[in-house]
Amino acid sequence: MSNVEFRKDIFADERDDDFNEIGKPRIRQDILGHVTGRSRYYDDHLFDGLLHMRCVRSPHHHARIRSVDASAAERMPGVRRIVRPSDVPNNLNTLLSLIGFGRDDEPLIASGKVAYRGEPVLAIIAETEAQARAACNAVRVDWEVLPHVLDVEEAIKPGAPTVNETYPNNTFDYGRFDHQKLRFGDVRKAFREAAHVVEAEYQMSPIEQAPVETCGAIAAPETNDRYLCHTGTQALFFSLGTTAKLLDTPSSKLHFIGGTVGGGFGGKVDSLTEPMAVLGAMLTGRPVKFQWDREEEMQVGAPRGGERWRIRDAVTADGHIIGREFTGFFDSGAYTRLSSYAIQKGTGHLPGPYWIPNVASNIYCVFTNRTPATAMRGFGITGVDFAIECHMDRVAETVGIDPIELRILNSYRDGDMKPHRRLAKNCALVECCQVVAEKAKWPISQAARSASSLTGSSPERASIPDTAVDEEGKIGDRRNREIDPAPAPGTKTVPAGTRQPGEMKDAGPQRPDMMPDAAALGLKRDQASAQRQVRAAAPSAHGAPQPVAPAQVRPAAPAAAPPAAAAQPQPSAPAAPPAREPGPAPSTGQPAEVPYQPDKPFQRGVRRPGVSPFLSGSRRR
């Protein structure tokens, strides 16, 4: 039933075309459970004495909490526990603290103030969901409503209300700056030389992932002093680590079970429900379910963040884009979650799949009194790509060129230097555009039809140019004076071929040891990437510290090398103990392991790759 068409005529000499799986229909390994209703989602685990947890949430975008009165709720039928912020042992976290990125800025249960509508201030655990709901309605909170800010550019103006006390200027810190910078070449020079300047602004809305299964978790005390947690998370170990941190509990005391997710699309990485459910189980000693209802999923569930992009292009009369400036405002909502990282992804993606010799971008991760944003399907990339591709059409219109030809004219070719100091390789935009034009019966010129991603680079395109840098937007400046959020005027220049100072220092040209080792992967021929990399590196004229050394790129797999030895990643492979050598297994009393054969998956004595021996088909009625 596959509608996929494989264009094997393109880059035909770079493939072996000996795929076993690609191009053939395969049945999902979990689909039998789905069509029989036997797949177990987190809510499909039944517990005796299950308690239900619900949250009291802020009706205001931004408010100080003067007092919370739960005395009436406490006396309501079925209520077993009121969970207050003081019950959370370590009530401040940021999701990416597990990889050491950003400062803790978000409480599990807010105390003092709330920064978005729907932020939890109290949780109630009761015998039934209806009782928990009724008790939540009986909680009286005395709010002092504060001025709020919902627009990214309003939020960075002097005098805007501070959303998040951890970042008082309403912007995430990127090194010494309040925005993520990218500088490549000198955009000012490009704009002086341009025949056309094309400028536009693009605004994306926040988007809720809206999985059919809402976020939730069930936690229960186990008999061995551990806590079991069934969860619908997309990020089981994020949730485990976050729970351990917030609850100040060793992760060895947490037994997390996930894996079957009723739709996520990014909205189930935030690890908000698991700590709550486990905390509930700790405080009551009983199984506790914390499940968002549909309204919470829509109001509190973290969406794809809204993005505002301004793009300004310097274009020559014949349609070459010679300079591109970006100003991006990423609406993080009230807390950081993953927006800081989305911006780094987005910066690495600029200026889109096009070779542009002068690029500057300032991207701000801005805190507003909106629902915190998080992951959703290519977040950080999709938004800016939408802006870039709209802008390409606008450029084509301004210059008077066919939009597909404009893309072919400007697209990356193998060996081009990208603004984040990596060489472009395995490019295919030219070919994609050609196939699109062909399929759409869209006439393009002979020159566009004969273009190729393999050709068109040059020593100039492969090198890092003189780069104008600046100190604009240093942390702390924002409150003193208004800064023009447009990218830099440029106060000094970094000479061509050298790396930038500061946060750019690790982004040197691509290292040859990051190339896949064809022999280790068991490929018969060396992959195209290596061959094309050699071509790309050969004309390189710039004085980069280590141009990609052709000698280190294997021109071809050493045919004589035995595959087993090549597969050993350690250089000490020859000294490996004999037991690890291929061949008949030494007699150890265990049956010899039979190699896995895809066509006989249930052969005796075979371990199926990726399938747990503990997997059981526990069947419900």
Binding site: M1, P25, I27, R28, D30, I31, L32, G33, H34, V35, T36, G37, S39, R40, Y41, D43, D44, L46, A130, Q209, A210, P211, V212, E213, T214, T260, V261, G262, G263, G264, F265, Q291, D293, R294, R620, R621
Partner: protein
């Protein structure tokens, strides 16, 4: 809340449970009877994940009062296959990649079965109409519509 004994047929088996006045059929099936195939997606009758068949008609079990099914016949996905032999709809869903996360699938299958029981050779538009109360966020619906048409013994190109 007065709990009342009710009896109904679930996938051909007689079931008797005590249910409260305000209890909904989905929670009773899941918690009391132990049939976990109707899924809780919204609890407010908008997503269709809890769809079951009551006397042959598709019904949203999350907004059906449990006491109202006294004496009636309920079908869920748990009774769709004949032992290990899958129903044609289930096989078509497997072959056509019509499920990804699988959460909407039980409700989708019941809505489709209700359609095919009533109308064994539906047009594409009738299939679309029959599953219009079931939200799927993964597949984009096309593979599901194709699978239902194929399960009805037609080509997926039928009457676009």
């Amino acid at each position: 809340m007065a709990r009342k004994p009710i009896s109904f047929t679930l996938n051909g088996n007689e079931v008797s449970v005590f249910v409260g006045e305000s209890a909904n059929l989905m929670e009773e099936l899941r918690r009391n009877v132990g049939d976990l195939t109707p899924k809780h997606g919204c609890g407010q009758g908008t997503c269709g994940a809890c769809t079951v068949m009551v006397d042959g008609e598709p019904q949203l079990s999350c907004i059906t009062l449990a006491q109202s099914v006294e004496g009636r016949s309920i079908e869920t996905v748990a009774g769709l296959s004949q032992g290990p032999v899958l129903h044609a709809l289930q096989q078509a869903f497997i072959d056509g990649f019509a499920a990804q996360c699988g959460f909407c699938t039980p409700g989708m299958l019941m809505a489709a079965k209700a359609l095919l029981d009533r109308n064994p050779r539906p047009s594409r538009d009738e299939v679309i109409e029959a599953i219009s109360g079931n939200i799927c966020r993964c597949t984009g619906y096309e593979p599901i519509v194709d699978a239902i048409l194929i399960a009805s013994g037609q080509s997926r190109e039928v009457r676009r």
